[in-house]
């Protein structure tokens, strides 16, 4: 008990001793856990929502439609058909809601559930007399929900519910087109009686039937035999699945690519975080050993410290991730397995917490091993890892103004950190350029997307870009902080030799601006390449040249402003105190 208390006290004391660093540490792990939470949600979006819908609604293998009901009755008895629902009457109707009007097919259904194609109600209830159920994607496009008033061909109805189905692709792609083949055609379900009332005296309804086959894999072959006029027209579940996938392909591609890019940035965050803390722990390890602490005690103190921060970061990351997920526009509306309401499952909580604890363990492992290996005297002397020398850069820097001289030399001391900072910015700039290109593609007019989907894709791109930039900003702050810690002795010495705090601040910032410049320049071809990888089937539309060029100064400016904060704090620490701490 006494030992645990000692470990707890030492850990708490160290966290309190440097609250700003503890907060940054929390922020970095939180960025990683938030990203991971969002990633898990995105995974749900991209994992075949049509299949989930098909299972949840007992989706048919083939949907067939005909003007003459007798044609469908014959189809029900065809070889290989093992079950059916319908035929149901279907009639073309104009749906009006909130002042908008849209073309739709109204399907007459029974109030009782069926064993094949029973649309899954996601809001409200199933059809009733005077109550219409609207397909989920169509409902979103019309901005209607359960309880709202709508009109069908001028007749008033109340929205009884909102449902998803696997018997057709979500709005606006309706497959099969049974009555009308308009490009934007919604689906609503009404009772059979209401469907008959909707039909005008001179218009007879069409009919649709849902079929189950003995071998669902034969659905396409079955459908191919159907589609010979004047026989019934139909669509296999394969066709509908393809239509559904095509409908959300762009958004899913953007989310998936963004998820990967975010994941890479999170890895960079963690690498910087661990590296930064290592630079700060050497002397502390020496102090603990000097007062009789064993490597095990040192490891326990460090672990306790990191575990507290990691658990807080995991909780915060899960909360922010779950709260932020609904902000991601949902590409799979109209299908089951949407991103809008991610469940906080035990596995998600476990995985996110596990990753946070793994970061804590990794951050403990290196100093613990170092504690076991490094002599107490050396650790107390805070012997820093020897910086690397790049002679030509040192020679070049002598010809530059003081801030650039200091910045270039600082950057050259740690080439790996320079590469990490460059990679972090290059990844972000690539994401931004890819988003700009996708946006340009939408504005270009060559896109086949309808305005609603284009708007949704734009929202996806905006959210992913904001998330990317936010995570990159955290990275930039952390890299600067790690560099400031590592360079505290040389910065203090430079000030003792006559550099002003402003020059040192500018130097630390410049050390970040240089990789930012390199990263931004690399990000332009990187972004173009990213689009090519994400969407190999289409030709890449480049954003306007001014946007591409603006990425570079904008990145440099943002990084300069961001890094000025930790650089300024570091450059104002007392010179004498730092130089004295270097004495053995």
């Amino acid at each position: 008990m006494g030992r645990a208390l000692l470990v707890g006290r030492l850990a708490a004391r160290d966290l309190r001793r440097r609250p700003a660093e503890a907060a940054l540490l929390l922020l970095a792990i939180m960025a990683a856990t938030t990203t991971l939470t969002l990633g898990l949600v995105l995974h749900g979006v991209t994992s075949e929502p049509y299949q989930s819908t098909r299972e949840a609604t007992a989706g048919p293998d083939v949907v067939a439609g005909a003007d003459d009901r007798a044609d469908l009755d014959a189809l029900i008895r065809a070889p290989g058909v093992t079950g059916h629902s319908g035929p149901y009457p279907v009639i073309g109707a104009i749906v009006g809601a909130h002042g908008r009007r849209a073309e739709a097919e109204a399907l007459g259904r029974d109030a009782a559930p069926t064993s094949i194609d029973q649309p899954k109600v996601v809001q409200g209830s199933w059809v009733r007399a005077g109550g219409v159920v609207v397909e989920a994607a169509f409902a979103e496009a019309l901005s209607v929900g359960a309880g709202d008033a709508v009109t069908l061909d001028g007749r008033s109805f109340r929205v009884a519910g909102v449902a998803v189905t696997a018997a057709t692709a979500p709005y606006p792609k309706v497959e099969p087109c049974l009555v009308s083949c308009l490009s934007d055609l919604g689906i609503v379900w009404v009772t059979r009686a209401d469907a008959r009332r909707l039909a005008s005296p001179d218009e007879s309804p069409g009919y649709v039937v849902n079929l189950k086959l003995a071998d669902p894999a034969e659905a396409q072959a079955f459908d191919a035999r159907l589609n010979h006029p004047p026989a019934p027209v139909g669509a296999s579940w394969h066709d509908i699945s393809e239509q559904a996938a095509e409908l959300t392909a762009n958004e899913r591609r953007a989310l998936l690519t963004g998820g990967w890019v975010l994941g890479l940035l999170a890895v960079a965050s963690v690498a910087v975080l661990v590296g930064g803390r290592m630079a700060d722990q050497t002397r502390r390890v020496g102090l603990l050993k000097a007062v009789g602490g064993t490597p095990r005690l040192v490891a326990a103190v460090l672990l306790a410290e990191y575990v507290v921060v990691a658990l807080l970061a995991a909780a915060a990351g899960l909360t922010v991730g779950v709260l932020a997920a609904p902000l991601l526009p949902d590409p799979s509306v109209g299908l089951v397995g949407r991103a809008g309401a991610p469940p906080l499952t035990i596995s998600t909580v476990g995985l996110v917490t596990g990753v946070a604890l793994a970061v804590a363990a990794a951050a403990t492992f290196v100093p613990a091993v170092r504690a076991a290996r490094v002599s107490t005297v050396l650790a107390l002397a805070d012997t820093a890892r020897a910086p690397q020398r790049t002679a030509w850069l040192i020679g070049l820097s002598a010809r530059l103004p003081i801030p650039l001289l200091l910045g270039l030399r600082l950057a050259a001391r740690r080439p790996r950190r320079f590469v990490l900072a460059t990679a972090s910015i290059a990844i972000t700039a690539s994401g931004v350029v890819a988003a700009l290109a996708a946006h340009a593609d939408l504005l270009d007019g060559s896109s086949a997307l309808d305005p609603a989907r284009a708007d949704r894709l734009n929202q996806v791109l905006l959210v992913m870009t904001i998330t990317l930039v936010a995570l990159a900003a955290v990275n930039a702050l952390f890299i600067t902080w790690a560099m400031a810690l590592d360079a505290r002795r040389s910065s203090a010495l430079t000030r003792a030799l006559g550099a002003t705090p402003r020059q040192v601040t500018a130097g630390l910032s410049a050390a970040q601006v240089l990789p930012a410049l390199a990263g931004a320049i690399l990000g332009i071809p990187g972004g173009i390449q990213l689009i090519a990888v994400a969407d190999p089937d289409s030709t890449t539309t480049l954003p306007p040249l001014w946007q591409l060029i603006a990425v570079v100064p904008a990145t440099v400016l943002v990084v300069a402003v961001l890094t000025a904060i930790p650089a300024s704090i570091s450059a104002r620490r007392p010179v004498a105190e730092i130089l004295q701490s270097e004495l053995a």
Partner: protein, 248 residues
């Protein structure tokens, strides 16, 4: 301050320096007065923790006193901005540290030229001056060596050359032989003696009697205050070889 004149390069009046507060308050300096005329080599001796290094930091503008005044060449400096103090350190003060504090990634000549570059000299002029100083400290052949490839004495000689880079008015040396063996100490003693002979104003804090013996004046410190001041007859009259035999 009417009684502060320009005849002294460096002056301190009533210097007090406190660290911490309340029950944890530590008084590192307690009412120190000091006057250093141009060309004098002043040695400040005392046991560890007596406030020697703190005094040096205050005189060089690396720290601000809790109370009292510091004057450099007739100008009060303890209230100057950090930027102005940096300018003073760049042009007027040279520092020598016990731990050398050389940049590990820079060669000897690059370390020495750094203050000149910070002062805005051209790279060519800075390199020329650094080469002269390397010759002065007898390390011409070590110009392109990194600090890790130099002995302790050589490192301190590079540090001294760096302190002289901008022809400072005063050199402040903090335990310059504290990390050196006897042979290296002798090298540094010779160098400091040559600086004294050249008329360089020097303030050296040390607990090494051999260094103190080369000074014009010796001040002893204890518990943050001066306890004794002695004007030495002629430090350099004692052969340096004999000085190295003195007990610390």
């Amino acid at each position: 301050m009417s009684d502060v004149t320009n005849t002294f390069v460096l002056q301190a009046r009533g210097l007090r320096m406190d660290y911490g507060q309340g029950e944890g308050l530590v008084r590192a300096l307690d009412g120190v007065d000091l006057q250093v005329p141009a060309g004098e080599t002043l040695a400040v001796m005392g046991p560890s923790g007596c406030g020697k290094s703190t005094l040096l930091h205050l005189l060089g503008g690396l720290e601000r006193p809790s109370e009292g005044e510091v004057w450099l060449q007739g100008r009060r400096i303890d209230q100057l901005s950090e930027k102005t103090l940096a300018g003073l350190r760049r042009h007027t003060i040279g520092f020598v540290f016990q731990a050398f504090h050389l940049m590990d990634e820079l060669t000897a000549v690059e370390n020495i030229e750094l203050p000149a570059l910070l002062a805005g000299r051209s790279p060519r002029a800075a390199r020329r001056r650094a080469t002269e100083l390397l010759e002065q400290v007898g390390l011409t052949e070590r110009a392109t060596h990194l600090p890790s490839a130099l002995s302790g004495g050589q490192r301190q000689r590079v540090a001294i050359a760096r302190a002289l880079g901008n022809d400072p008015l005063v050199v402040l040396a903090d335990e310059p032989t504290g990390n050196l063996d006897s042979a290296a100490t002798l090298d540094v003693l010779r160098l400091l003696d040559s600086l004294r002979s050249a008329g360089q104003t020097l303030v050296v804090v040390t607990h090494d009697a051999r260094i103190a013996a080369t000074a014009d004046r010796l001040i002893s410190m204890r518990d943050g205050a001066f306890v004794e001041a002695t004007r030495l007859t002629r430090g350099s009259s004692v052969p340096l070889g004999e000085l190295t035999q003195l007990e610390r």
